[in-house]
Amino acid sequence: MKTIKNLSIILLAVLCMYSCKAQQNVMKKGASSEALVTTNSLQTLLPGASVMTFGPNNVLFVGDSKAGVIYAIETQAKVLKDPISFNLKGVDRIIAKKLGVSTSDLIFNDMQIHPVSQEAYIAVQRGFAPDAPAVIVAVSPADSNVRLIDLSKKTQVQVKNIRTDAFEIYKRPSSRLNITDIDYHDGYIYVAGLTNGEFASTLRKIAYPFSNKQETVSGIEMYHAVHLQKETRAPIRTMAFEEINGESTLIAAYTCTPLVSIPTSEIKEGNHVKAKTIAELGYGNTPIDMITFTAQEQDGSFDKKLLIINKERSASLISLKDFAEANKGKGLEGFSMGPEGVKIFPVPMSGTMQVAEQNQMMLTTLQRNIDSGSVDLLSELKGAYFRLSNFDSEYEFPDYKYTEGGKVWKDFHNMVKPMEGFPELIKEK
């Protein structure tokens, strides 16, 4: 009897040992995919990534204020033609987890849409230290998958005139250019920025592909005539290139809010360029970002728009037809209370940190949710410029009945709801 008892204990112990070890192995397998990631060979870090723009052949240009460098990064992308919307709330949490940090350790610098894959490319600084690196993540609207961009295939150029060379000799703190916008147009990258040492109106023009010839990088001085015939030294904040009345034109918003036009052909080294003030966007405000895109009007026609996202004011939507008309004249000269000069349609996009054209139907926005504090990646319909699901409207009351004339709204709401991730709220036709 005693032998049987001892044997049973031994058997129990062996079973126990086996089961425990088996459990540990399961744990290991289950968890290891997350914890023991093989460090990938992809190069994913940049010294900094302040602003971005896509150029020819899907090249992503990244302006890095920290290093004073423009990178040109080759990107790989699968074609996506369907208009699939982004409904990714809390994209900051997903990115933070991917980078092994808290959301409070992330600084969102820019967002652009890949012209082929419709992926949102987001430039993020990881941490706050002077040497904190930046990464570029891509988020696909098709599956909301967040991936780190391989930055190994890139060329780069140092932005000239940052005046670092001489100061290293003297061991002095150098002035630093904060690159506020970059744009690619017809073989050149245009770089706008603001230094911490002076308030100068310098626009830089860099040939791409990058060449070693220093002459290819030219400093361009410009000024704009403001009221009472005074000139100003002011830096461009954000800009876009468009053909206006048959002429390639730089549209630029200054930090103290005039919206100006400059013929691209005049932007040459040594030229004293006089910009025409087309509109005044209103004081007490900073323009953040500017894009142009084609949108369908209610009557079915197509119109090219200029959309300016502002820090303090609602976004400004301008028809390029109106802009072109205003550009024919002398420009705004007298004293103005603003906003004026051209018809500006204010659109409710407050909280928008970045905007980019996603496809024929949609814009993509990176927004800071005022209630939750989270960063959301959301698509908005062109023409609407808002998200229905951001509002509690009477349309959603159970007893609400669309009137006969309101059928157009019902159709619109039914179209938008699945796009915003609420197909179950579609009301019967």
């Binding site: 940090v101 990881r126 603001l194 904040r237 004293h272 303090e312």
Partner: protein, 343 residues
């Protein structure tokens, strides 16, 4: 019974994973667990962010007696981490380079009388600071203790130097310049013959530590500075031959601090840059330069980039707020050369 206890103890030992180490060395891109000993190489091994329980991706490998963790991304000094090996846990963090609370060490212009068209100020800190969300915490207060709203230009990109210890603040240029809407409707933020205080509070360093205390700079305001810096009135104090005495430039008016740091250079007759150290004195009215080597007999040139400005943005080429066509040169940034002789 003895056998039973023996077997049960064996089970316990078998099931408990044994691990120990001497110490941990934490660096940004590697964590070394010194003299690491464990009875299993097969167990689960993790590094987590301790607060948020976020797994920290990376690779482990054995290096002689040590276990080394190479994180995929650099560790941050702001976070606490935990190393987990089955039941064995060990907390660690990346040591901070500085454990003192951040301080404001200087504010430029350093004078306590400033013009109503003041464009720019520099705030210097004792250590690197966070570079976002600070402008809301820098306020201009009038004589009655009321905040002057919209005085400081709330730029989207804050203007920090590379070391993140100097912040440039700009008084809203649309209010400073005459003729612009903001100037016409709101006027300039600073009014002559009144006193204002710049208050800097709650700013955080890169570790999230707040300023030791609020900092204040009180200053009185005089009427607009509409005189551009002019090299023809500068006085050059020439050092003695074969000495290390400073070369001094007296401006008789305050010059912008960053301009003094970046816009003046000394060359010899062969156009070779003279190396040395520079100092700013006398409330930015004097620039002095001590060479690395003694001054030799000969001709020297002080080159001044005409972008050299005063704190109101007036530069060698003309006033910040100027009539069309009144600039000395269509191109900004021309070099002005001042000759001096050491004999």
């Amino acid at each position: 019974m003895k056998l039973q206890f023996f077997i049960l103890s064996l089970v316990c030992i078998w099931n408990s994973v044994f691990a120990q180490m001497d110490s941990i060395s934490v660096e940004k891109n590697s964590v070394t667990f010194h003299n690491w000993q464990a009875n299993s190489i097969d167990a689960s091994i993790f590094v987590f962010d301790k607060t948020d329980r976020i797994p920290i991706h990376g690779n482990f490998y054995k290096a002689e007696n040590d276990l080394v963790f190479i994180p995929q991304f650099p560790l941050l000094q702001t976070r606490n981490y935990v190393f987990v090996f089955e039941q064995f846990k060990k907390d660690f963090s990346l040591p901070r380079e500085n454990s003192e609370l951040p301080k404001v060490t200087a504010i430029f212009p350093s004078a306590n009388k400033l013009p109503e068209n003041l464009l720019r100020m520099y705030i210097q800190f004792s250590q690197p600071m966070k570079t976002i969300g600070n402008l809301e915490n820098i306020k201009l207060i009038d004589e009655n203790g009321k905040e002057v709203k919209g005085a400081i230009f709330n730029n989207v990109h804050e203007l920090w130097d590379a070391s993140q210890t100097q912040l440039t603040i700009i008084f809203d240029p649309a209010r400073v310049k005459t003729g612009l809407i903001a100037n016409e409707t709101l006027g300039r933020a600073l009014t002559p013959n009144k006193t204002f205080t710049l208050v800097i509070d709650n700013l955080e360093d890169i570790y999230g530590e707040k300023l030791e205390k609020p900092y204040m700079k009180a200053f009185s305001v005089f009427s607009a500075d509409t005189i551009a810096p002019d090299t023809t009135i500068w006085k050059i104090e020439i050092p003695v031959i074969e000495s290390m005495k400073p070369l001094k430039l007296h401006f008789f008016d305050t010059v912008d601090k960053m301009s003094l740091q970046t816009r003046i250079q000394i060359f010899n007759a062969e156009n070779k840059l003279i190396r040395g150290k520079m100092q700013i004195e006398n409330q930015e009215k004097t620039w002095s330069f001590i060479p690395e080597k003694t001054w030799k007999k000969g001709t020297y040139f002080i080159t001044v980039n005409s972008r050299l400005a005063d704190p109101s943005g007036n530069n060698l080429n003309g006033l910040f707020d100027h009539e069309i066509g009144s600039l000395k040169n269509d191109r900004e940034g021309e070099i002005v050369r001042l000759k001096f002789l050491i004999k």
